[in-house]
């Protein structure tokens, strides 16, 4: 077991946002956190690397509790890809090199730069090495952001809506990268998602949040018309095509 989350509670000004979140994850697995806007998906993700400090509960990565570790220690174990990252006047190489921050003492070493180059090749950004990130498209920037998290050499990767605002090709490419990284590098990934069909295509495990608690969790089998309607309030049917499951909304009553 690589990630073990137990009884996490987070309150915002004494009002509970998420409660009693408990789950675990094996290496090579991708977990999709699903649920409507404002249900606490991002909050949960931020609790898992102590960007938000949970009121109670524990988050263990390979047995060590993150919530009592210092920030640098957490950053060596957990990589975080936020929904948005700022793009200043920096080259792709330097922007990814920043991911070595948790390992740098005074200055970068040749080893750091070699790791960055390998990550650049892995994400096929070779032709953009010296491009400035403020001149890049959303998809390219998202790849830089993921590469930055990868060179942290984490055991767990957290991604906050990695495919929102990307076109279809980029969505497939980004999620394909997450898939490749988790299977190839003994890493687990947790991502929040809105696109149920993309989640069903790439994730192994699912958590459906409702009102800040886990409504259903487990394999793709937990994504049923009943759980989706309970969580999102929308009647759907789940169809199979080419070995993938697809969530198809039925006509809403108001239409």
């Amino acid at each position: 077991m690589i990630l073990d989350v137990d009884g996490v509670v987070f309150n915002y000004r004494s009002a509970p946002v998420i409660r009693d979140i408990t789950f675990d994850l094996q290496p090579h697995q991708i977990l999709a956190i699903l649920g409507p806007n404002g249900v606490g998906k991002t909050t949960l993700l931020k609790c898992m690397n102590a960007i938000l400090q949970p009121k109670s509960g524990s988050v263990l990565v390979e047995g060590a509790d993150l919530l009592t570790s210092d920030r640098m220690e957490i950053a060596r174990k957990v990589g975080y890809v936020p929904q948005r990252c700022e793009a200043g006047r920096m080259t792709v190489f330097d922007a990814i090199l920043l991911g070595r921050r948790p390992h740098i003492r005074w200055d970068v070493t040749d080893a750091d730069m070699r790791i960055v180059e390998a990550a650049i090749r892995m994400l096929r950004l070779e032709n953009l090495t010296l491009r400035y990130i403020d001149e890049m498209s959303g998809g390219e920037l998202q790849k830089v952001s993921i590469a930055r998290a990868l060179v942290q050499e984490p055991r767990v990767l957290l991604l906050d809506e990695p495919t929102s605002s990307l076109d279809l090709k980029n969505q497939l490419e980004i999620l394909g990268i997450v898939r490749r990284v988790t299977t190839g590098h003994n890493v687990a990934a947790v991502m929040t998602m809105h696109d149920l069909n993309m989640a069903l295509r790439y994730a192994d495990r699912f958590i459906l949040l409702k009102n800040g608690v886990i409504h259903a969790a487990g394999s793709p089998d937990v994504v049923t018309p009943e759980t989706i309607e309970a969580v999102y309030g929308v009647p759907v049917t789940v169809e199979r095509y080419n070995g993938f499951r697809f969530v198809v909304p039925l006509e809403p009553e108001s239409a």
Partner: protein
């Protein structure tokens, strides 16, 4: 996760070398400018003599330190160089470096391109402190000589009071951000509010001041690098060097904060703490410079942006680059200020914007260098 097979791309190493060359070039320019600045003035001294006087003076001082009691011969050139022009030129460099590095740090910490010692009300707090010392505590008076029309008969009192108010402004900003969480918006807005408050306070005091006091306050607010003696220069240099080292040591943290607060936290940076401590250091170095030399605007705001246009936003190059640019701009401004309406000597604060604004607007129009 392992990436064992990477190779460092050659073109990246070339890119890094180019950045280093820019900064090195700036340092060379700064030294040449120092010689030129000392050689021009009411008495012209050839640059070669300036160079020899500086080198000999340093050797003599080391000699005197090792063998106490030896007295070196001092020519009139040496006197002009060592007693008047060198301390003034060095004060310009130190103040330029200090204000510029404070500016670049504040811009990053506050995530705001308008960050500078001015924006946060530190300069205006210093001016208010000077007004208090002159008008309420009686530290200033007016003399009738033309060259130096106003003197402060108790400059140390003025400096101390100005310094106290600079720190007070900083403390208030930090207190507000402590209550509301150290968000950059709160810090900037609190700074703007404080700045206006201190300006209003200064105007209020000036309204009730007599002619001589008013002249002394206005004189103080014209920042002038000619005010510092060797001892004050030493204090400023010490604080500035310490601040530069601190900011350079934090360059990766600022790069991370530039990528967004959440990215920075994900990279292990304690954003709030870095922000608070960085603010204190930036405010301290600004406060020391402002209280010794008066208000010198523009440098802290614009030098970092000039450097951004030339070598980009990466703090590894931006911080040292801004230091060099600050020194160059303020020294160049002071040199021009001393010769432009000779025999009168203008305070440097008048010239920084005159010289800097056109250069900056040109750089804005030219866009980023590739």
């Amino acid at each position: 996760m392992h990436f064992a097979d990477g190779v460092i791309p050659k073109d990246y190493l070339g890119y890094v070398r180019k950045k280093h060359l820019w900064i090195l070039g700036g340092i060379v320019l700064l030294f040449l400018l120092l010689i030129v600045s000392i050689s021009v003035g009411a008495v012209g001294i050839p640059p070669s003599e300036v160079f020899l006087s500086i080198v000999n003076g340093i050797i003599d001082r080391i000699d005197a330190f090792i063998h106490p009691g030896t007295v070196a011969s001092v020519s009139s050139t040496d006197r002009i160089v060592w007693n008047i022009r060198l301390p003034q030129a060095l004060a310009a460099i130190v103040a330029g470096i200090g204000l510029s590095v404070a500016g670049v740090a504040m811009q990053s910490i506050l995530r705001n391109p308008l960050g500078s010692p001015f924006t946060l009300g530190i300069s205006n707090a210093g001016a208010f402190g000077a007004a208090v010392s002159v008008i309420l505590l009686g530290a200033g008076e007016m003399h009738s000589t033309v060259a130096d029309a106003v003197t402060l008969n108790n400059p140390y009192l003025t400096t101390m009071v100005a310094f106290v108010f600079c720190l007070l402004a900083t403390a208030v900003i930090l207190l507000i951000s402590r209550i509301r969480g150290a968000s950059p918006e709160v810090m900037v807005l609190a700074g703007v509010a404080l700045s206006s408050l201190f300006t209003a306070g200064t105007m209020f005091l000036q309204y009730f001041a007599d002619d001589t006091q008013l002249a002394a306050v206005v004189f103080w607010t014209f920042g002038d690098v000619g005010r510092a003696n060797w001892q004050e220069l030493g204090i400023m240099a010490l604080v500035t060097i310490a601040a530069c080292l601190f900011f350079i040591a934090n360059r990766w943290n600022y790069n991370a904060i530039d990528a967004g607060d959440e990215t920075a936290k994900g990279l292990g940076v304690s954003v709030e703490r870095v922000r608070d401590i960085g603010m204190v250091v930036a405010a301290l170095v600004s406060a020391v410079i402002v209280s010794f030399l008066g208000v010198i605007g523009f440098v802290g705001l614009v030098c970092p942006h000039m450097v951004r246009r030339l070598i980009g936003d990466d703090q590894r190059y931006l911080i040292p680059g801004s230091c060099v640019m600050g020194g160059v701009l303020l020294l160049a401004s002071d040199t021009v200020a001393r010769v432009i309406v000779a025999p009168y000597i203008l305070p440097v604060a008048v010239l920084t914007a005159f010289l800097g604004a056109p250069v900056f607007i040109y750089l804005l129009l030219a866009g980023y260098r590739r």
